[in-house]
């Protein structure tokens, strides 16, 4: 049967999605439509039908129920709640992945969780950067990155910054190009492509008054590592993440910002 597909541009990495299941492709195209592009693929994801029973109730939080297991040279992705339910696998030698589509049609959160995991491990293996929990704002040609876990205030910042062009408020891809670090929107939460050179990294803390102070590169590295998705998978992955993080903290100024729930911070940040 013919396999057709389309190519996504995720952080300037062309990712080919293909299948002989036209219905699934149509649905996936609907989910990631804003990121469809052209280009010679560097990563390929095949959607393959399976008769195995993948449960429907993968949680809304894309990451909380995905378990990553090394399978020889491949990396397998499973659901924690249903250990027998393999979402698919990634072969880092070939830069190919297979997503198992249920007979009854794919589930939107499954394909989001799977493609996020595959893309992250692709980046780790190619030492291309990583996806991090962060919000990002672009203003005046500069990007401001706010890494942090849920509840840290990173989404509040994007809402409070007047006239902000939001790159993302949840999953940001960071990659280096020609000596500078860029942040990119990603298709797991956003619907359009956006990017900016990272001019500042600011770690947000909710407080009752505004205070911004520089943090040491090692402190910044610690916080960045803690927010990189799947960085604690194994020592070899962490080695690669550490190298990139060290370089970022050398090139980009890092601060922590205590802020109250008003917009007074942005004039201090955007100096």
């Amino acid at each position: 049967m013919n396999k057709t597909g389309f190519t996504l541009d995720i952080a300037r990495v062309p990712v080919r999605i293909f299948s002989d299941r036209e219905k699934s492709l149509g649905l996936i195209e609907g989910v990631f439509g804003g990121f469809i592009s052209r280009g010679e693929p560097e990563l390929a994801i095949e959607v393959r039908e399976t008769r195995r029973d993948i449960p429907e109730d993968l949680p809304e939080d894309l990451l909380s129920d995905v378990k990553v297991i090394r399978k020889g040279q491949n990396i397998g992705f499973y659901t924690k709640a249903f250990p027998g339910a393999e979402l698919g696998f990634f072969d880092p030698r070939e830069n190919k992945a297979v997503f198992f589509d249920r007979g009854g049609g794919f589930l939107e959160n499954h394909i989001r969780a799977f493609t996020l995991a595959v893309f992250q491990f692709f980046l780790f293996h190619r030492e291309y950067g990583f996806v991090i929990h962060a919000s990002g704002i672009r203003q005046g040609g500069r990007g401001y990155l706010f890494p942090g876990p849920s509840g840290s205030g990173k989404t509040t910042i994007t809402a409070l910054w007047p006239g902000a062009s939001v790159v993302s408020d949840e999953f940001i891809c960071i990659r280096e190009s020609k000596g500078a670090y860029f942040m990119y929107s990603t298709p797991w939460k956003e619907t359009t492509k956006s990017e900016a050179v990272i001019g500042k990294i600011i770690f947000p803390r909710k407080a009752d008054r505004l205070e911004i102070k520089k943090v040491s590169p090692a402190s910044a590295a610690l916080e960045l590592l803690s927010n990189i998705i799947y960085s604690f998978y194994d020592a070899s992955i962490m080695e690669k993440a550490l190298g990139t993080v060290k370089d970022i903290t050398k090139k980009v100024p890092c601060s922590e910002m205590r802020f109250a729930l008003d917009s007074s911070f942005w004039q201090e940040v955007a100096v």
Binding site: S216, A218, L222, S226, F232, Y233, M238, L242
Partner: protein, 93 residues
């Protein structure tokens, strides 16, 4: 038990980097990142399986304005802790 002649080496499964004068160590299985200040980073850097504890003490004395007794106390305390955490191990002679 360690003494000044003990040689200690880093656990190769512990990713780490010196970043400026400080250091970051990662306990991957625990999902924890350890941040070392400049003295801790210096001691960690000198743990290489070749230096004795006394060599490390002298390295700290050479790098910082600290007397040998204080450096010895700091080094023994730090090395005991990294051994206890499995971040490093004693080299068999």
């Amino acid at each position: 038990m360690i003494d000044l002649e003990t040689r200690v080496y880093k656990n190769e499964n512990v990713p780490w980097r010196i970043i400026e004068d400080e250091a970051i160590l990662v306990e991957v299985k625990k999902g924890e990142v350890i941040h070392l200040n400049d003295v801790g980073a210096k001691i960690w850097d000198l743990i290489d399986g070749e230096n004795t504890v006394q060599d490390i003490v002298l390295g700290v004395v050479g790098a910082y304005e600290v007397d040998e007794d204080t450096a010895r106390q700091d080094a023994l305390c730090f090395i005991s802790e990294v051994l206890e955490k499995g971040l490093a191990a004693v080299r068999d002679e």
